[in-house]
Symmetry: none
Subunit: 213 residues, 4 copies
Amino acid sequence: MPELPSEGRVARRQRRTREALIHAASAIMTEKGVDAATMLEIAERADMGAGTVYNYFGSKDALAVAVLESLMQDLARRIESVTDAFEDSARVYAFGLRSVLDTATQDARWGQMLHRSEVIADAMYRAMGPFAIRDMERATAAGRFTIADAGLNWRLTCHALIGAALLMTKGDLPLAAKPEVITRLLCMTGLGLESAQDLAHSDLPALPAALPG
Amino acid sequence: MPELPSEGRVARRQRRTREALIHAASAIMTEKGVDAATMLEIAERADMGAGTVYNYFGSKDALAVAVLESLMQDLARRIESVTDAFEDSARVYAFGLRSVLDTATQDARWGQMLHRSEVIADAMYRAMGPFAIRDMERATAAGRFTIADAGLNWRLTCHALIGAALLMTKGDLPLAAKPEVITRLLCMTGLGLESAQDLAHSDLPALPAALPG
Amino acid sequence: MPELPSEGRVARRQRRTREALIHAASAIMTEKGVDAATMLEIAERADMGAGTVYNYFGSKDALAVAVLESLMQDLARRIESVTDAFEDSARVYAFGLRSVLDTATQDARWGQMLHRSEVIADAMYRAMGPFAIRDMERATAAGRFTIADAGLNWRLTCHALIGAALLMTKGDLPLAAKPEVITRLLCMTGLGLESAQDLAHSDLPALPAALPG
Amino acid sequence: MPELPSEGRVARRQRRTREALIHAASAIMTEKGVDAATMLEIAERADMGAGTVYNYFGSKDALAVAVLESLMQDLARRIESVTDAFEDSARVYAFGLRSVLDTATQDARWGQMLHRSEVIADAMYRAMGPFAIRDMERATAAGRFTIADAGLNWRLTCHALIGAALLMTKGDLPLAAKPEVITRLLCMTGLGLESAQDLAHSDLPALPAALPG
DNA sequence: AATGAATGAGTGTTCATTCAT
DNA sequence: TATGAATGAACACTCATTCAT
């Protein structure tokens, strides 16, 4: 017996089922909106019975959140693929913030869910937290940021960012305010205003396209 | 007796009711999405009975379309407010196209309905047609465009524009393609490719913020 | 000024309106059933506003009853046209009973309303009463029937007749029982059983076709 | 293990549920008409939740059609019980035609739906087809009828028969025309006119009463 | 008296969720 | 654990009825 099967056959199959479900839900919810997507259609697309879905997700809402988290993890991965080459963790973090704000205001799949901002902020806190917190801690260690509790900082930032995105899509905040939004959020890391501005406005590479589905 | 009562008391009240309905629907549909908005809630917000709504709009869908048209008319008005100062009608038209594409990809209220592109294209054809067609004809008269049937041209353009916006929000077409999209649509007016590119890329002023709700 | 205008211009117009309404309602209710007929459709067919109907009939039900009564008056008139030639009032009455039972079980327009038997019995009591009571009284005067209160007799007969018709259309009573039903109802007039049977089974002429509409 | 379970426990329960639903619907629709019957009332009478009905019938209309088909199957069974003793399949078929026409013009439960003649003709085609087609084919084999495509013949006959019944209940065709209608429909089987008339007018036994409910 | 806009109770239908198998 | 039949709350929509004009 191997020492670390780390995941038995059963667990593996469950994970695959879960992923198939998220995949199917993502496709359908993206295509026709969360409300118009029915649990039965999702279950059938994932080739399983209607009741089975509830063994994996407690409610349609929970499934929608999982879809959202998967979108966010995808975004996080795409950010990673770009920032791998960065040496400055502060820059990685800043790029991440900008990418999130851009995506939230432009990707319809996010927009579909944006009107429930607490939910989305929460999903973002969980899904992107590991990366964001890691970067903040690294940048703190490198003397760039000054952060005592990166988790708290990230939580605040999530709510602020999603709130801003919501205002922008509703037209109550101009898109042109994006750099200012990023700047202020960077200030929360303990960075001085000028450095924050520099980071926010620095010319950053483009994000690779979203993976299909 | 005034010479042009042009609108009786009854007609005036009906128009007001209709507008109150669109106003209420716009607020609620924008806030929580078209599907999540209920007709009863809309009726109550507009301070009327549930059945009354159906004296003005044949279905929830029709009401949603009316909301959309009102958003488009608002956009058209905002475009007018900027382009008043333009001397070149071709430039007015180009600015209009760009503004529509930007709005369609950024304003969540449009996004809510973007997955029914024919409906939205149709609403756009009707709501913005008067302005667009006028500009095309003026530009043709001024020798800038060469268009035989401006109505047809506008219809095609509407479908192409909404189609592109849909692809962009789904991530199947990068936002960076916007100038190219505008260029090609301008080519449909008979403008040469280079002139079209010039117009599409010319530095244009910003649109004033959307009127609240 | 004529001595008996008996009906002024206004009253005449009202009567005409009332009749137009019954005519329209009769056509539509007959065509698609009472429930499927809408008051608005009826009003439009009669070329008047929706509210006007309620100046003439207190409710849709009342209108339906009026339609029914008009059908019954038509039936009564058709019976009269046949029985004019009869010398024996008892035979007229018997023929009337048979005609009503036949019509009630065969004419779809009656069937549409038959499941509310008290209403229909009541309408029948009023609409055909004048004729039936007259015949009963004549037959009594001629020594054929023995009836103290023809009105009461007629009321009982109406309920019994409609009840039987309802049972027959529901299949709970065979159509073959018709003569027996008629016989027993004739007995109520004081006629002996044998005479009643004779009358019920006597070969009677056919009823002329219903007038269209 | 039994050789032919032919129907599992689940399937059996579903069939029972379906039948309970038809039974309840039949009772209520017959009692108060199709329109006045509400789905909730039917569901409650069948002792189940409102939504369950829609797991068995796609719409109220579909349920009404199923009720109709069940009435027709009942009629077919009653015809069978009489014609078992017949030796001549042509006579069986003729008796069937006559029974259908009589029932359609007399049974209120049929009348309730008669104003949608295509639907009823279709239901009749399906519900009674197996018997009618069998008889036509037997009679053809016996040299009485001459029919190439019994299915087609039956389809035409259904529409003609229901059409005639509709005219009769509306009073546009006298009930006295029944024998002629039957005669002409029998001619469609290739029978000569005289033979058809003989069959149509032959003295046939009475149909047993409808089963309750 | 006539009108038709406003009303809201009532109905068909959908669908997230539960639970017996 | 997977299933899908059963459930009932919720919602879009209809239409008889009222009432201000």
